[in-house]
Every structure is written in structure tokens, then in C-alpha cells.
């Protein structure tokens, strides 16, 4: 899988902490360094709580009010997105960079018909007449796979199935042909048949329009089959980054290795009924605890003494890959 393209978005040293009024501060992102290339499909893979959604929201300035950006920059077209005023961010959201959030069922307005909801995005960014918008919306609905766009136009979200709602949300996010589409768990709540449709849809977008796609997911198979590159996140840090084929064929970081082992053992044929799953040892890290050393160290099968004392730096054992682990250098 070739990756094309020059650098499109650069994230450097991003730290985000949530400071709720009650309870402890939660360190969501602990120094993220990432480069997104034009027209690539990048997978951000990690379990829940590792900070992947936070990363997506931080890029677009959609963090909740109690989130603090401790440090870092997000460079896009030469400027730092984190310093943009809200009014300018509004012109970017939906138009140049789009976010498809989780839970499409809840992302749609219950009292507005879905056609109008897609139309609203157009209305916000593209001067057009109401008829032009309606036509464009029907085009979009057809593109995302609806065979009867005019019927769907007038439907309300509660009249559609989960998969249909997901497609409407995707239609909304690509309405203005954004250059970057961030899809947050696009396939986590859908069955296999629909999953391949959604994946096909996103691939088509990349092929036809050169859209850069970032897929946030906890499904390694999705990354392996769909993404060009994959970044693995654990406890707010990127622990491994590289071409997805290579990363999954020869995983370097112990977390990646455990994950790959788990996936390979999850097959349909093979296990007998009532056979237990193999596990990744250890509970998810407590995000309110400050760890001095590597956050994966407690559950790591290959830990060394130094792992509990200091945080590892990113190293590049091969030119196209980077790992955050002491095993590959200091």
C-alpha cells in the first residue's frame, strides 16, 4: 500500500488534560507527535480511554470547556489551528476538515428531516439556493448508497435504521468535499455487511476526490485492511507508527504484539464452543494517575527495569516506522 503525498497536518507535542470541577484531573493526551499526509488513510488504533477521540476534537477546537491544552501545536497550511479564533474555526469545520462522530443515532437532530440536516451543512458553507441544495443533497444521498434519495430526504432519524443513519452522517460530513475527514469509530456498532459498505464508501472518497481520511477505531482488522498507515495509541501517547502492513506483520511494541496475538486468535472456525479468549494482561491504565515511567509497563510482558523509571522517547528502528519503547533504543 503506497502512501502518497506531502505533509498535510502536523501535530507536535500536544498535551491535553481534562479538569472537571469535581474529581481528579485526567491526562488525556501526553505529548502527541503525528504527521498526516495528503490523501492517505491513517488509522488511529487504541482502546477506549486512550485519547483518540480527544485528539480528533482537539484538532477542530471542539474540546469541552473543562479541557486544557497544556502544550503543543497543530499546523495546517502553515498556521496553528489551536490558535484560531472560533469564528475562523467555524469556516473550517465541515468545509475543510470534517468530523464524523460516534453514535450516529445521537448525532442527528430528532425533529428535522435528514435531507434538511445534510442541507444545513451546505447552507452554512456554500452560497446556494434552496433548490440547488436539495438537488445536491439528493446527489450526496445517492453517493452514500441510498437508492431512493427523495424518499429518504423526508425521513426523520428515528424512522431510519442504524446503518442508514450512519450513512446520513457521512453524507453530512462530505457535503462540502472537505480535504480531511476524521471518522470516529465509523464501524463499531454495525454488522459485517454494512461495515464493508461504509469502508467502500470511504475508499471511494479517497479515490475520487483525494480526501485524506483519518479513521479512529479500536478494530485492528479495520486498520489492517483499510488504512495505509496506522498509529497505535495507549494512555495518551502514540506507541507505534508505521505502514499498517508492516506494523501488523512485524509488530514492535509489546502492546501491538499482544493486540495482534489477540486478533489472530479471534477466528470463527478453530475455537470450540465455550473456549475462553486469550487476554491482554492488566487493567486499562488509570488516567488520573501520574506515571513516572512507561504507562504500559505494569501489564507489559517484556518490561525491563528502566521502564518503570523513565518515559521512553520515540525511536525509529526503521526509516518508515517509529516506536515508543526502550527495547529499541534510548
Amino acid at each position: 500500500m503506497q502512501t502518497s503525498g506531502d505533509s498535510f497536518l502536523q501535530i507536535r507535542g500536544l498535551r491535553v488534560t481534562y479538569c472537571p470541577s469535581r474529581g481528579d484531573d485526567v491526562r488525556a493526551l501526553n505529548g502527541i507527535r503525528l504527521e498526516i499526509r495528503r490523501s492517505e488513510i491513517l488509522g488511529i488504533l487504541g482502546e477506549s480511554g486512550c485519547g483518540k477521540s480527544t485528539l480528533a476534537h482537539a484538532i477542530l477546537g471542539l474540546l469541552p470547556p473543562h479541557a486544557r491544552i497544556g502544550a503543543g501545536e497543530v499546523f495546517w497550511q502553515g498556521r496553528d489551528l489551536l490558535r484560531f479564533p472560533e469564528s475562523e474555526l467555524r469556516t473550517i469545520r465541515g468545509r475543510k476538515i470534517s468530523l464524523v462522530s460516534q453514535q450516529p443515532a445521537l448525532s442527528l437532530n430528532p425533529v428535522m428531516c435528514v435531507g434538511n440536516q445534510v442541507g444545513e451543512v451546505l447552507r452554512a458553507h456554500v452560497p446556494s439556493t434552496s433548490r440547488e441544495r436539495k438537488e445536491r443533497v439528493c446527489e450526496l444521498l445517492r453517493e452514500v448508497g441510498f437508492e431512493q434519495p427523495t424518499t429518504i430526504y423526508d425521513a426523520y432519524p428515528h424512522q431510519l435504521s442504524g446503518g442508514q443513519r450512519q450513512r446520513v452522517v457521512i453524507a453530512q460530513s462530505v457535503a462540502c468535499r472537505p480535504a480531511l475527514l476524521i471518522a470516529d469509530e465509523p464501524t463499531s456498532k454495525v454488522d459485517g455487511l454494512l461495515r464493508s459498505e461504509i469502508v467502500g464508501l470511504l475508499s471511494k472518497l479517497r479515490e475520487r476526490y483525494g480526501t485524506t481520511i483519518v479513521v479512529i477505531t479500536h478494530d485492528p482488522t479495520l486498520c489492517a485492511t483499510f488504512a495505509d498507515r496506522v498509529a497505535l495509541m495507549y494512555a495518551g501517547r502514540i506507541v507505534e507508527l508505521g505502514n499498517s502492513a508492516e506494523v501488523f506483520a512485524r509488530p514492535l511494541h509489546p502492546y501491538t504484539r499482544a493486540l495482534v496475538a489477540l486478533v489472530r486468535s479471534s477466528t470463527i472456525a478453530g475455537p470450540s464452543t465455550r473456549e475462553h479468549f486469550p487476554r491482554i494482561e492488566g487493567e486499562s491504565p488509570d488516567p488520573t494517575a501520574v506515571s513516572i515511567g512507561c504507562s504500559f509497563e505494569p501489564g507489559c510482558a517484556e518490561r525491563m527495569e528502566v521502564c518503570a523509571l523513565r518515559c521512553p522517547e520515540d525511536v525509529a528502528p526503521e526509516p518508515t516506522r517509529s516506536v515508543n519503547c526502550f527495547k529499541y533504543g534510548e
Binding site: 477542530l60 471542539l62 467555524r90 469556516t91 473550517i92 469545520r93 465541515g94 468545509r95 470534517s98 468530523l99 462522530s101 453514535q103 445521537l106 448525532s107 442527528l108 437532530n109 430528532p110 425533529v111 428535522m112 428531516c113 444545513e120 451543512v121 447552507r123 452554512a124 458553507h125 426523520y156 428515528h158 424512522q159 452522517v169 453530512q172 460530513s173
Partner: protein, 325 residues
């Protein structure tokens, strides 16, 4: 049976129930119209009993109710003893004035409350929101009587507006436009009093509702798609936040009609209020019943309007999605 059909049938049953209770309570209240006459030595008891017979007041309650119900179905609501005229036209001429006052009051209330409530919620915690909350708290806690009398005193003292009645004494000679102006100037004070009281209540509810909706995922998603702030508030948030507020509309309308009694009496506006008050005090039987039934009709009507509006605004009710079994 469709949604509305069921509501209308329920409303009809409600009205019948109210009428029965009306009869019972009016009958139970001590005294009758002719008590004063009885005290007058110049009127003989025979005259009184013949008067009573004429108005059918000597019949047992059940019979009276039966006859009333039958005539009510023919839009005949009995006879007023005091005014010596049929109840229905009497009520209607006054009801028009009350409706005028109430609908104007309601329109003004919502015209002010909607933007105020929405913006207060959008700027929650800031100056606008704080002043809205303080003002509405004050208005809600001060009894309407006090507000009405206070404003009345100010208006009279400084001769800002004419007070009393709907038109001046010699208004026959005036032009159409001048007559309208007159009515408007006399309507201003009672309308303001009504509006102040209602706005205070509605704004608080609307603000709370909008605040809740602002937190929902779909509003965040819309924000994430770059929808502008004003459009987001009024086109996306308000229709959803309005649903609970629309139920309030039904109460609000009904309440304005029956609650304007106080304001009408204080400001001298010739509406239903003073009429029913006098009728009750003098035990003018059928006028009282007619007045209360009209009030009940307004209440039921107000709620039906709210139901229709809810149906129009919330597609989930329209398509039966909320019918859980």
C-alpha cells in the same frame, strides 16, 4: 383513532364533567339571587316564588341540569336574572374583549420570551443571563395584584395612559383610526401586566429547556460541522427545546383567559372577568354556570391548540414513534 381524535373526545368528556361539578358547587354555595329581594318587605313571597318558578329555580337540581344540558347542546345557555337577557350573547360580547386582551398578551409574551430565553441560555452565566434570571425571579415572586396596582398607580399619577373601560364616553364621533387608537391605549396597561407575569414564567422554562438541548450530542455534531451560532440556536436547538415549552403554551393560553380576571377588574377592562365576578356575588345562577363553562372551554381549547402545535413541531409524535407498549 387518530391522535387528535382521541384528544377531542377526551376534551368533550372533560367539559361534561366540569358542567356537573359546576352545578353542584354553585348549588352548594349559600344564598340565592332572590335573597335581597326577600329582605325587602315590599315584595311579597308570592312574587318571589313566581319569579323563581319563571327561572326554573324551584325544580330539583337533576332536572335543572338535564334541561340545561339539553339546551346547551342547542347553544342556549339559559337566562341571566340580573341582566334579564339570555346568557350566551351576554357572555360572548364580553368574551371578545377578554380574548383580545389575552391573545395580545400571549403574542407579546412569546415574542419576548423566545429570543430572551434562547439567548440567556446561549450566554449562560454571563450578564444577559444573570439579569434575565433575576428579573424573572422577582416578577414571579411578587403577586400579580401588587404589580397591577403599582403600575395602575403610576399610570394614573402621571397621566401616562387613559384607564378604565375600553372606549371613552363620546367615541361615536371619532374616526375608525382614532377609535382603534383609543382601544389600544386603554389596552396597553392590562396587556403589560399580563405579559410581565407570563414572560417571567415562560422565559425560565425555555431557558432551562434550551440549556439542556445545548448539551446533546447532535448539537455538538452540528457545531462540529460548522453550523453558525444563530442558525444553530434558532433552527436546530429551538425546535427541540420548544416541545416541553409548547405544552406550557396550552396552560399559558388557558391561564391568561381565566387569570385575566384580576387584571380586568383592576384596570376596568370590560371582559369576562368583571362579569363573572358580579354574577357570582349576586348568585346569578345560569350566568355563573355559563361563565365557568366558557372558562373551561378556553382551557380545553388552549390545550388542544398546544397539542396541535406539538404534533406539528415534533415528528416523533406524528409518526407514532413514541408510542411505547
Amino acid at each position: 383513532m387518530s391522535y387528535l381524535g382521541r384528544r377531542v373526545i377526551r376534551a368533550a368528556f372533560l367539559l361534561v364533567g366540569v358542567s356537573i361539578l359546576c352545578f353542584l358547587f354553585t348549588e352548594m354555595a349559600p344564598g340565592s339571587f332572590f335573597d335581597e329581594m326577600r329582605l325587602n318587605p315590599q315584595i311579597s313571597p308570592e312574587t318571589i316564588s313566581s319569579l323563581r318558578a319563571r327561572y326554573g329555580l324551584d325544580q330539583p337540581l337533576v332536572v335543572r341540569y338535564g334541561r340545561w344540558l339539553r339546551s346547551a347542546l342547542h347553544a342556549d345557555f339559559g337566562y341571566s336574572i340580573a341582566y334579564n337577557a339570555p346568557v350566551a350573547p351576554l357572555l360572548w360580547s364580553r368574551a371578545k374583549n377578554t380574548l383580545l386582551l389575552a391573545t395580545t398578551g400571549m403574542l407579546l409574551t412569546w415574542l419576548i420570551s423566545i429570543p430572551l430565553g434562547v439567548w440567556a441560555a446561549a450566554r449562560s452565566g454571563r450578564m444577559l443571563d444573570k439579569s434575565v434570571r433575576v428579573a424573572s425571579s422577582l416578577l414571579v415572586s411578587i403577586p400579580e395584584v401588587v404589580i397591577a396596582v403599582a403600575l395602575l398607580a403610576i399610570v394614573v399619577r402621571w397621566r401616562v395612559l387613559p384607564v378604565g373601560g375600553m372606549t371613552s364616553m363620546d367615541n361615536e364621533g371619532l374616526s375608525q383610526w382614532a377609535r382603534l387608537q383609543e382601544i389600544a391605549s386603554r389596552m396597553l396597561l392590562p396587556t403589560i401586566i399580563l405579559t410581565l407575569g407570563e414572560t417571567a414564567i415562560i422565559v425560565r422554562h425555555l431557558r432551562a429547556s434550551v440549556l439542556e438541548v445545548l448539551d446533546t450530542p447532535f448539537v455538538q455534531a452540528a457545531r462540529g460541522l460548522g453550523i453558525g451560532r444563530t442558525r444553530l440556536l434558532f433552527r436546530h436547538v429551538l425546535p427541540v427545546a420548544a416541545s416541553p415549552a409548547i405544552s406550557l403554551l396550552g396552560f399559558s393560553l388557558a391561564g391568561l383567559l381565566s387569570g385575566s380576571l384580576l387584571v380586568e377588574v383592576i384596570c376596568g377592562w370590560p371582559g369576562l372577568g368583571p362579569l363573572i365576578l358580579d354574577a357570582t356575588l349576586s348568585r346569578d345562577f345560569y350566568l355563573v354556570i355559563g361563565g365557568i363553562m366558557l372558562s373551561a372551554l378556553f382551557m380545553v381549547g388552549g390545550n388542544l391548540v398546544a397539542d396541535i402545535m406539538l404534533l406539528a413541531c415534533d415528528p416523533r409524535i406524528r409518526t407514532g414513534a413514541l408510542d411505547a407498549r
